[in-house]
Structures are given as structure tokens and as C-alpha cells.
């Protein structure tokens, strides 16, 4: 086994293990960083596959995205550090079955499928070819991606900004209780119970 193979197997194991830990760990922040580890390991595998740009790009994209993910975990998850053990899952058996079936089906394709074997020629420059592709045949993809991202920017600002389309977010909110421990109960549970009066639709 060559050094490349050893590195690949180690990183594959890390990617899968970290991916699994994401849904098992109590701490949400840890979960985001496990996902980051999974992505980084996949990025290393990409580097081994000579995708020098995509692998490294995955590093910086995912470092930022998972950092943001962790911030949102801290903002919106009760108990973000998992100090009280918890399990917030539904329809778990169906989910496990679906996961196993998907894995089995895809692995079957992988093992039994016939694929041509045309590896990357020596001296191939993936970044240059990607650049010419982006400015040549795939110009349209590239342009529309740019515009879509602009739309995303505007949409996120509109949705999150505190004086977005829905008016001032402070509107209607009560002034803070200056003495702590007054009114605020655990609001999410209330809303959740309110939801139970309606019948459930699960996807």
C-alpha cells in the first residue's frame, strides 16, 4: 500500500466517523465542527485525486460555513453546548432505514457498476482548465451563479435585517424586564404545544 492509499483510508475513516458523530454528539457547536472535520477529510481526499483547487477551496468554504453554522447553533439552539444530554429526533427508525437503504443502493452501484477508466493525464492543470471552462462554454452557468448569489445576498439581508420588509423588528416587542427572572418562560415549548393542536404533517 502506498502512502497515498494510507492517507486516503485514514481520511475516509475520519470523514465517515466525523459525519456520524455530527448526529450523536450532545454539543451543537461540536457537531458543527465535526461536520467541518468531515469536510476537511473529504477535501484532503480531493487533493489526493489531483483536484488541487477544489480540495483547497472546500477548506476555505467549509471553514467559513461551519463557523457560521456554529454561531447559529449558539444563537438558536437551547443548550448549545449539550450540558444536559438530549436527543431531538423524530421518526428515527424510518430515518435509519432510509440511510441504510441509500448506502446499500449507492454502494451496489459503486461495486457492480461499470465505469470507464480514464485517469487525469500527466501535467494536466485543473485550475487552468476550470478557468477556461468558466470563461468559455460554461459562461452562462457562471453568470447565472453570480446573479443567483446576488439574489441570495439580498434575500438574506431582507430576511434577517432588523428593519427588513416586515418593518422594525422591535415593533411589538416588550421592553426588557430590568430585573432578571421575571416574565420569560421557555417560549419554544409553548409554541410547540400550540402546534400539537393541529394535526401533524411529517415529510
Amino acid at each position: 500500500m502506498s502512502a497515498v492509499d494510507i492517507t486516503f483510508y485514514i481520511n475516509a475513516a475520519i470523514a465517515i466517523y466525523a459525519g456520524w458523530r455530527v448526529f450523536v454528539t450532545d454539543s451543537m457547536v461540536r457537531a458543527s465542527f465535526f461536520l467541518l472535520i468531515s469536510f476537511l477529510a473529504v477535501g484532503v481526499i480531493m487533493l489526493l485525486l489531483a483536484a488541487v483547487y477544489l480540495g483547497v477551496a472546500l477548506f476555505f468554504m467549509m471553514a467559513v460555513e461551519m463557523m457560521v453554522m456554529a454561531l447559529f447553533m449558539v444563537m438558536f439552539m437551547m443548550n448549545p453546548a449539550g450540558l444536559n444530554p438530549m436527543k431531538m429526533v423524530h421518526q428515527e427508525k424510518v430515518a435509519i432505514a432510509a440511510g441504510v437503504v441509500a448506502f446499500a443502493a449507492l454502494s451496489a452501484v459503486a461495486v457492480f457498476g461499470e465505469f470507464p477508466s480514464r485517469t487525469i493525464p500527466e501535467g494536466w492543470q485543473p485550475v487552468v482548465s476550470l478557468g477556461h471552462e468558466l470563461l468559455g462554454d460554461s459562461m452562462l452557468v457562471f453568470e447565472s451563479a453570480g446573479v443567483t448569489l446576488l439574489a441570495t445576498m439580498i434575500a438574506v439581508v431582507m430576511l434577517t435585517s432588523h428593519r427588513g420588509r416586515y418593518g422594525d423588528a422591535n415593533h411589538g416587542s416588550r421592553p426588557p424586564g430590568l430585573e432578571p427572572g421575571g416574565d420569560p418562560a421557555d417560549k419554544p415549548e409553548e409554541t410547540e404545544e400550540g402546534g400539537h393542536h393541529h394535526h401533524h404533517h411529517h415529510h
Binding site: A15, G19, S38, Q91, A102, F103, F115, L130, P188
Partner: protein, 101 residues
Amino acid sequence: MTLPTLLIVSAALIGIGIYGTLSQQSFVMLMMGLELILNGAMLAAVSFWALTAAGAPEGQLLTIIAMAVMAIEMAMGFALVVAVYRAKQADTTEALDGLKH
């Protein structure tokens, strides 16, 4: 590091991702499941690109598109989480049943 082993790894990532997407109650965890699926998909795309397509640039482009999808999904997902939380103080999918009526 052959194509079947690479695809099995990506299948495993996709399988875990599907489990996460279907089982998690909170939005943010659900999005993590989606990300993991895309992670597997990107690995598969790069493997095909490197081992069967002789470095055709479309393979790389596909991966970039997957990343773009992921970025847009995340940005929009979080923006919705903020908007919904602001309106209903909810961070789980069950709490949003009201939206479906």
C-alpha cells in the same frame, strides 16, 4: 484508492446525511444532514472527474455548483431560521406546523 472505494465512502456520507435529514428535529441540524449529503455527492463527482472523465472540466464545475447550492441553502436556511425564530421563537420543524395551513 480506487473508484469503488471512493464511491463507497461517498455512499456512506450520503447515507448518514439522509439519516440526519430525516431524523433531526431542529432546522440547523437538518441542514447539517443536507450538507453531509452534498459532501458525499461532491466526493463522488470529484472521483468520477479524476478517474473516469480524464479531468474534463465539467466534473469540476459540477462540484462547484454543488458547493454553490450548499452555500445558498445555508444562507437562505439561516435567514429563514432567524425570521421564523423572530416571529415564533421556534427552532424545530414541529413548531412550524402552523405554516402549513
